[in-house]
């Protein structure tokens, strides 16, 4: 601020020693994705952001099925997978495929 005062002839500007730069408008863009450690589902090897391979195969004829069908699941171990993939997996083996801890669901995506 102090340096500014020296250079700018602020007497011409009637207002208080205003800031020279003011942000008026901001059009920003953000991308959302699942908050996951690994972006690829270790079970089906498809990005968790996309529907799993089986769901993609089925959704072919679906009309505008909100992508809600194939959600993401987080375990207590914080590993995450497609919920579809994990549901099939736990039928055979109730452990996380990545860390071998006992699988228990922490949360589902929304």
């Amino acid at each position: 601020m102090s340096e500014d005062n020296d250079k700018t002839s602020y007497d011409s500007d009637s207002s208080k020693p205003d800031k020279m730069f003011t942000l008026k408008k901001w059009n920003s863009v953000a991308m959302w994705s699942w908050d996951v450690e690994c972006e690829i589902c270790a079970i089906c090897r498809v990005q968790v952001m996309d529907a799993c391979l089986r769901c993609q195969a089925e959704s072919k004829k679906d009309i505008q099925s909100k992508d809600g069908a194939c959600v993401v699941v987080w375990g207590e171990c914080n590993h995450s997978f497609h919920h579809c993939c994990m549901s099939l997996w736990v039928k055979q083996n109730n452990r996380c495929p990545l860390c071998q801890q006992e699988w228990s669901i922490q949360r589902l995506s929304s």
Partner: protein
């Protein structure tokens, strides 16, 4: 009178009956009671006691009729001897025969009624074997073998005694009559009636037969008639060929076909109409089809629609007649299409490409509808030709086919803000779908389209959102849901974002939290948007942006769970108010540029290194690009020619611009177009693999077990909508699914797969 059978004297009764029969067959008047008596006579003979005399009656009646017809025939003797070429005698013979036939057949009808009792009760309908009745078999039918109804018997007697004797000479004269009708067309209506009557007598005389009733007509008359007509057509054709152009020849042939059709209806049995037409076509069209083809090219290139219409009319009924014309048209459309889109130059190649191609398509579509009756064969040739032009790798002399890209660009240019009205735009979009449908690699189009759509949506460049949706729906209609899935998700993201912004503003208000900037945030879902690899460039966000970001993220996490946001600063822009001594300016620029300028709030000069360090902009290219744009706009100055780490950058306090509101058009994502195109193609390849894998899983899930070749066929037919995959690519995808244990090879066969549940 009594109906009781009684003893009768045959000769007496028959003698009486015969006088009536004689009158009836010659159409002389018979008194009512006389007729009734005779009717009873037939009855009493048939039921006579002690034995019925029906057979005898039959024999006598037959004999009577034979004698009657024979005596008629004798009357023709004179004419037969005298037959020569004078019209008169010819007519005389035909007229005489016709009137004799007319009387006889009418009288025979009455006679048949008179003999009703005999016909119905006595004559057991005996199957008349074909062989015995055949024309030419000749001779008498013995009563023992065969009895017919009296009407039929009479006709048969006419055939045997009259037609067999007179037939050849009658036919000869009929043919002369027809010839005269062709050449002089001056037959009197009496002549016409006679010809018709004589010809039809050949049919009527055997009309009672259930099978083969046209045999006599065909063998005796029709064959010769067709032969003579063929000769006539042949000579007509060669006469015309000497003087006529193709155009005139066609008109003549159409006229002749027309006349022959009328002629056939005028004289002949209905079964001959088609045959005569065919004979005429064979002699006048098929035999000279190369003559007709010879001017195809001229007709098409000079748009001689009447000639083309005639050509179509003539060739349509000919076997394979249209083949050559269709092939020619196909080539013509191909050449014209190729010419119209080859060597396009300038800024608007995409517009020229689509609109030129549309013009060619419309021209020929119109031609086909107006001259070829929308014949499906021609329409499919049009499709073939257009598809071949549009998918040709040579269309602009480069190696890759650019049509998918060009059509997408065309759509982009329509959907971007412009001066056109909404309905103009929609009309153009609708028309262009015609061209779009011919693109083979629709997935390539989709990739380009989605990139352009992303830019329009992110930078608010769309004419309006309704049109965006209209277009997505058009594509969906053409290619199905899967094709537009991601496009639709992008479209809905924009709507959801608007909604989120409103809710966020409400949320801030509720908390009495004032941000003092006009904030608008677009939230895109990862995966749906084709934003390329440079998603997040590391960057220390200036504190001015920090608060809005933090506030929004808090709000967002309240609404959704398990989601994280990453800010795409290279896609953000804003308005910065720069207040200088003399004037204030409102400048639109990108986030990075704003961040750089904001550093000068507290100091006048900074080294490049300082700026980089504070903003943590490690990507040098990115840094240089944005700094350069600020220097170019004269807001900043630099003390060296080239920007280097040690260069000193100062804010230009003397900055001045006529306008107080302007935009720094920094090189917004300056990927070279060529790079972008290449990237797009690489991504298409990746997507194809994913698509194929999903298709394989889907197919295998429903079929469980499938042979390799059957699987390949299924995949090819399913992927047809968007692209034609290569076999090696499919094989790769199968292998990778085996690795991922979605499918496996069955134990007993190496070229069979089964689904792993």
């Amino acid at each position: 009178m009594s109906l009781k059978p009684r003893r009768i004297l045959f000769d007496e009764v028959w003698g009486c009956l015969k006088t009536t029969v004689e009158k009836v067959i010659t159409l002389r008047a018979v008194k009512k009671d006389k007729w009734n008596d005779s009717f009873n006579d037939v009855y009493s003979i048939c039921v006579a006691y002690p034995e019925p005399l029906a057979d005898r009656l039959y024999t006598e009646t037959k004999l009577f009729l034979e004698n009657h017809v024979k005596s008629q025939l004798d009357d023709f003797g004179v004419y037969m001897m005298e037959v020569n070429d004078t019209d008169n005698s010819q007519n005389q013979l035909l007229h005489k025969y016709y009137s004799a036939w007319k009387n006889y057949s009418e009288g025979l009808g009455f006679l048949n009624s008179l003999y009703s009792y005999l016909n119905q009760q006595h004559i057991k309908k005996q199957k008349v074997s074909e062989a015995e009745i055949l024309y030419g078999n000749g001779g008498h039918l013995s009563v023992a073998q065969e009895q017919m109804e009296i009407g039929e018997l009479g006709l048969d007697i006419w055939r045997i005694f009259m037609i067999q004797n007179l037939g050849d000479i009658l036919v000869k004269q009929i043919l002369q009559g027809i010839e005269r009708d062709r050449v002089e067309s001056n037959l009197s209506s009496k002549d016409i009636e006679t010809l018709n009557g004589v010809i039809h007598s050949f049919v009527m005389v055997q009309d009672y037969k259930k099978k083969g009733n046209l045999k006599l007509y065909e063998n005796m008359f029709e064959g010769k008639m067709l032969e003579a007509s063929g000769e006539y057509f042949k000579s007509q054709a060669s006469k015309l060929l000497q003087t006529c152009s193709v155009s005139q020849y066609m008109q003549e042939v159409i006229r002749i076909l027309d006349e022959e059709n009328i002629r056939a209806h005028k004289f002949m049995h209905i079964s001959s109409i088609q045959k005569l037409k065919k004979e005429c076509e064979d002699r006048m069209i098929t035999d000279h089809k190369y003559f007709l083809y010879s001017e195809c090219k001229d007709m098409v290139s000079n748009d001689k629609r009447d000639d083309l219409k005639n050509l179509y009319t003539l060739l349509k009924p000919i076997v394979d007649g249209l083949k050559e014309l269709i092939q020619f048209l196909l080539e013509q459309i191909k050449n014209e299409g190729t010419e119209s889109v080859m060597n396009l130059k300038g800024e608007n190649i995409h517009i020229q490409f689509v609109e030129n191609m549309l013009q060619v398509h419309q021209k020929y579509e119109n031609l086909i509808s107006e001259t070829f009756k929308n014949d499906p064969l021609f329409l499919s040739a049009l499709d073939k030709a257009c598809a071949s032009v549009i998918n040709s790798k040579l269309c602009d002399g480069k190696t890759a086919c650019r049509s998918a890209e060009l059509v997408a660009k065309y759509h982009d240019s329509l959907l971007k803000k412009s001066k056109s009205t909404e309905s103009e735009i929609e009309t153009k979009l609708t028309k262009s779908i015609t061209i779009f449908k011919y693109i083979e690699d629709k997935d390539v189009y989709q990739k380009f389209y989605s990139r352009m759509l992303a830019k329009r949506l992110i930078h608010d460049q769309s004419v309006n959102m309704e049109l965006e949706e209209v277009m997505i729906n058009k594509l969906k209609q053409a290619c199905g849901y899967e094709f537009t899935n991601k496009l639709h998700r992008m479209y809905t993201d924009v709507g959801i974002s608007m909604d989120l912004n409103n809710k966020f503003n409400q949320h801030l208000k509720n908390q009495n939290n004032e941000l003092h900037i006009n904030l608008s945030i677009k939230i895109l879902q990862a995966g749906a948007w084709p934003l390329g690899p440079q998603t997040a460039i590391p960057f220390a966000v200036p504190q001015e942006f920090e608060k809005p970001i933090r506030d929004f993220e808090t709000f967002y996490n309240l609404k959704f769970s398990g989601r994280k946001l990453s800010w795409l600063h290279h896609l953000c822009h804003g308005e910065l108010k720069v207040s200088l001594a003399k004037k204030s300016y409102l400048i639109t620029m990108q986030t990075y540029q704003m961040a750089m300028l904001l550093l000068f709030e507290n100091c006048d000069t900074l080294s490049c290194k300082d700026i980089k360090d504070v903003l943590q902009l490690n990507n040098n290219e990115n840094f240089q690009k944005h700094l350069q744009s600020l220097i170019d706009s004269k807001l900043l100055t630099v003390d060296t020619e080239k920007i280097e780490e040690s260069s000193i950058v100062s804010f230009n306090l003397d900055f001045s611009n006529k306008r107080t509101k302007f935009k720094i058009t920094a090189s917004l994502q300056k990927e070279s177009p060529q790079q972008e195109v290449e990237q797009t193609h690489t991504q298409v390849d990746e997507d194809r693999k994913l698509y194929l894998q999903a298709a394989i899983v889907r197919i295998m899930k429903s079929r469980k077990v499938l042979k390799h070749n059957a699987l390949i066929q299924e995949i090819l037919s399913q992927s047809k909508v968007s692209f034609a995959p290569s076999i090696p690519m499919i094989k790769k995808c199968i292998e990778s699914l085996i690795d991922k244990q979605y499918i496996e090879r069955t134990a007993n066969s190496s070229d069979e797969y089964s689904y792993v549940a």
